[in-house]
């Protein structure tokens, strides 16, 4: 049906019970009462035309496609090879096939009803009045006066003491709501100086120097690390290689003799005596954001952090030479004990990991 609006200047409401009115007339009258004028309403294809039947077929085939894809989804879901199997290509098809069938099924519905809506429903242009803008001055006046009246009735102006008392009484109640939350969560970082201590602290090992171990807890001899090699090492205490001691992973590096000499010559006072022969041990935790700075370049003696590209020069106190890091990687003082294994003679001398307010 194509309907052009005949000018109807007078906006008198229609009698919707008038039996001569069509359903469309009533609908348009309803819209009109909402301030909406349907100015254009036109079926896109003549009812029963070939074009319309073609469109209907297209919509129908979208829905049938959905049915097909959904069935395929169910079949694959139920009987497909869903269990992971290393090296098997068939099991790797399970998820893609599910995605494909589910996607097609959903897109089928989507395109189906969109085509239905776009092509088979009449095109329309409707214009609605916004009725925007502020309320009338009259309404504003009424509401404003009402509110002021309420405030006056409460008499906060006259009864000042009441206001103060209410405020004084309610403020602590607000804090009561906040207190358990803050009190329950808060944890003092200062008292135990937890941010300054790591698993290498001999205090955690009964006062004895902590052994340097591999991930599986086995101690390390100097010959275990080749020249130009590096090893991630952990404090040899229970749980030393777990996230319990997330600040303790350390990189043990065996330098070439000339690099070692260079390193020794440039050692800062705080790092004096921390090297053992040609071995150095630096904290693996980046001083910038705490990522493991572990991309060790054995020829250039640089250590790169993969998170923000800070680069540290191993042969010069692991000083940051590029990127956003500002502090050198702390050096772990190491030596070899009488059994021939590496030990840390003490904890790190400066705090490990990213800086914070209280850190000197």
């Amino acid at each position: 049906m194509s309907t052009e609006t005949e000018p109807r200047v007078e906006q008198e409401p229609l009698d919707v019970f008038d039996p001569r009115l069509t359903r469309f007339d009533i609908m348009r009258e309803g819209a009109r009462r909402e301030g909406i004028e349907i100015v254009h309403y036109e079926a896109q294809y003549p009812p029963g035309s070939r074009a319309e039947r073609r469109m209907t077929r297209i919509v129908a085939s979208f829905f049938l496609l959905t049915g097909l894809a959904a069935t395929a989804f169910l079949v694959i879901y139920t009987w497909g090879p869903w269990e992971y199997e290393l090296g098997s290509n068939v099991s790797k098809l399970y998820t893609p096939l599910l995605g494909l069938t589910l996607g097609i099924a959903l897109l089928g519905i989507g395109f189906g009803i969109l085509t239905w809506g776009k092509k088979l429903l009449p095109r329309e242009v409707a214009i609605q009045d916004r009725h925007d803008g502020p309320s009338t001055t009259e309404d504003r006046k009424i509401t404003g006066e009402t509110m002021v009246y309420i405030a006056e009735e409460l008499g906060l102006k006259r009864r000042k003491a009441l206001g103060f008392a209410a405020l004084a009484g309610l403020a602590p109640v607000g804090l009561v709501a906040a207190a358990p939350l803050i009190g329950g969560l808060i944890k003092d970082p200062v008292e135990d100086r937890i941010l300054f201590k790591t698993g290498w602290d001999p205090a955690g090992n009964g006062g004895k120097p902590v052994r340097v171990t591999r991930e599986d807890g086995t101690p390390i001899r100097p010959e275990d690390v080749s020249v130009g090699g590096q090893m991630t090492v952990f404090p040899g205490i229970p749980g030393g290689a777990t996230n319990e001691h997330a600040d303790s992973p350390t990189l043990l590096i065996h330098l070439r003799p000339d690099d070692a000499k260079k390193t020794l010559d440039t050692l800062k006072p705080v790092n004096q005596g921390s090297m053992w022969e040609n071995f150095v041990a630096y904290s693996k935790i980046c001083t910038h954001a705490g990522c493991p700075a572990s991309l060790y370049e054995q020829q250039t003696n640089r250590l790169l952090c993969p998170c923000h590209q800070s680069q540290f020069l191993i042969t010069d106190n692991a000083r940051p030479i590029f990127g956003p890091a500002t502090r050198s990687l702390p050096m772990l003082p190491i030596e070899v004990d009488e059994e021939g294994f590496f030990v840390a003679t003490s904890d790190y001398k400066v705090a490990v990991g990213p800086a914070f307010w209280e850190r000197p």
Partner: protein, 541 residues
């Protein structure tokens, strides 16, 4: 006993009547059914976010049945053999289990993740649309603020969700997050230890993130989205300027049936695209990352794209640290370099957009309410500002992946960092300038067509031998052959067939639904008034 006869055909009417008796629904329902929405492709971008949020809720609920928010160490014995026997947290193990030992779990997880990326991407794209068209102006500042907040809350939802599997990549991200919290002056260490219940990573963080991710944040998101959509409903949608469109009307389709059907269909399409991506594109292969251990990391560790700009700013920020002594208190104090790009910068990036509608209104002294959108070219300063912001964001985001770019395109990593640092300073102003000029150029072209008409491609030879191209004027011309149309910020037809010269007009999507063919291209010519019949004629043809 006589059986009462039920008239089946009368049931709908009767029950509708019964409902109205109780809820008086007929009047508000009529209003709802008839509400008019303007139709333009760019008005559907926000819907992508809304619909992907629904997909997020659906898939996320599925995942909660299998996920275990615990950092308890377990030994994996699921079906992913390359990790069997490895020690890991229960959170990571359950994430593996829901990927490999729950039938169809992997596609659910991947759909959830893709939906999250879609959600954030749609928010950003939608925000661009709002910004560049001036849809944030009075009376819609509140909704702009809510939308900006939705981005940041979505950001938090994304980050907490990204952290939950406790794989090596997300654990690294969490560690950086802890470093960011640590960097806050005065309270940083207290905040960090309070959130992690001690030193990073502690034992409780997964439980806390989990409840935030599945309850608190979605709750806030849901509430804000409800208000956001509710306000659009209440204030009515903006519309493009054009024939018959004024500040006081809405030209479009009524909500039912067409508009609602389009929305429903679009939801299915969003859902379908996410399903396709969830099945065909692998996302976040946590089984390759391995469990999070404080000492493992992978080259090219990045956050998801919507966090990448902060990662980029962190990478680019120079090694500037403030150390000082507070009158001999303590051992001296530090403001770490990571504080500026990850706490201060996001703070600025939150506050500036929130304040932008008011700043612009103040600078342009524009206190009026606006329901008609502006074309980006018509407000070159704002458009250029937006382009500048996008360029700033783009440089940061690319820098967030600069190691991947360096590796794959054989560029020095250090050079990439410097390129980012320099680019961050000089590219945004260039983007501003270029965009400004482009806007003016586009305006100029529009004016030219209004004055001289559309290029027809017909070349005419004049008696004196000159060749000229015939221009078809858009409206009656004066004695100099110049059109009488004023520049009105409307779409100006640039091709013949849009004028109807070569047949039915209006193909393509970018233009409003009216045929500009018969409509004059200037407002007020003839004068536009809502009840004038002549105007309706124009729109309807």
């Amino acid at each position: 006993m006589k059986r009462r006869k039920i008239d089946v055909r009368a049931i709908p009417a009767k029950s509708a009547g019964a409902l109205d008796d109780r809820f008086q629904a007929a009047t508000p329902l009529r209003s709802l059914l008839n509400k008019v929405f303007p139709d333009h492709w760019s008005f559907l971008l926000g819907e992508i976010a809304l619909f992907s949020f629904i997909v997020l809720l659906l898939t996320g609920t599925f995942l909660t049945f299998f996920y275990e928010p615990s950092l308890q160490t377990v030994t994996y014995d699921g079906s992913y053999t390359p990790l069997r026997g490895t020690h890991m947290s229960a959170a990571y193990a359950s994430s593996l289990d829901l990927s490999f030992d729950v039938r169809g779990g992997l596609i659910m997880r991947q759909m959830h993740h893709w939906a999250a990326l879609t959600f954030m991407a749609a928010i950003v794209v939608h925000m661009f649309r709002i910004f560049f068209t001036g849809a944030f102006r009075k009376p819609r500042e509140t909704n702009w603020i809510i939308g900006s907040l939705l981005f940041w809350i979505g950001f938090l939802a994304g980050f907490t969700g990204y952290s939950l599997p406790d794989d090596a990549l997300s654990g690294t991200g969490l560690r950086i997050a802890s470093a960011i919290m640590l960097s806050i002056p005065v309270i940083g260490s207290w905040v960090t230890t309070s959130i992690f219940d001690g030193e990073f990573p502690g034992h409780v963080i997964m439980g806390r993130f989990y409840i935030a991710h599945v309850l608190l944040i979605p709750g806030i998101l849901l509430a804000l989205i409800a208000v956001h959509v509710g306000l659009v409903f209440k204030q009515k949608h903006t519309q493009w300027p054009g024939p018959g469109r004024t500040e006081h009307n809405v030209v479009g389709e009524r909500m039912f049936p067409r508009y609602a059907i389009k929305q429903g269909g679009f939801f299915m399409i969003v859902f379908g695209v996410i399903a396709l991506m969830g099945g065909l594109f692998q996302i976040n292969p946590i089984w390759l990352f391995g469990p999070y251990e404080a000492f493992t990391v992978s080259a090219a560790s990045q956050p998801d794209w919507y966090v990448m700009f902060l990662d980029g700013s962190t990478r680019l920020f120079p090694a500037w640290e403030i150390r000082f002594d507070l009158f001999g208190w303590g051992d001296g104090y530090t403001i770490p370099p990571i504080f500026w790009p990850t706490v201060v910068l996001p703070g600025v990036l939150t506050m500036l957009p929130l304040a932008y509608p008011f700043i612009e209104a103040r600078l342009t002294k524009d206190k009026k309410a606006h329901n008609l959108l502006q074309r980006p070219r018509d407000v070159p300063a704002r458009t250029a500002l937006g382009a500048m912001a996008i360029m700033f964001w783009l440089v940061l985001t690319l820098s967030g992946g600069n190691d991947v770019i360096a590796d794959k395109f054989h560029i020095s990593l250090n050079a990439m960092t410097w390129a980012g640092r320099i680019g961050l300073l000089i590219l945004p102003p260039i983007a501003y300038y270029v965009t400004y000029r482009i806007c003016l150029g586009l305006q100029q072209h529009d004016r030219e067509v209004l004055a001289h008409g559309v290029e027809t491609g017909i070349i005419k030879r004049l008696p004196d031998g000159r060749f000229i191209e015939v221009h078809q004027p858009l409206a009656p011309v004066d004695e100099h052959g110049h059109g009488e149309l004023d520049y009105a910020g409307w779409v100006v037809p640039k091709k013949m067939n849009r004028l109807g010269a070569l047949g039915p007009a209006i193909k393509g999507f970018f233009y409003p639904i009216e045929k500009p063919a018969e409509a004059p291209v200037s407002p007020g010519h003839p004068p536009v008034s809502p009840i004038e019949p002549a105007r309706r004629e124009e729109i309807s043809k």
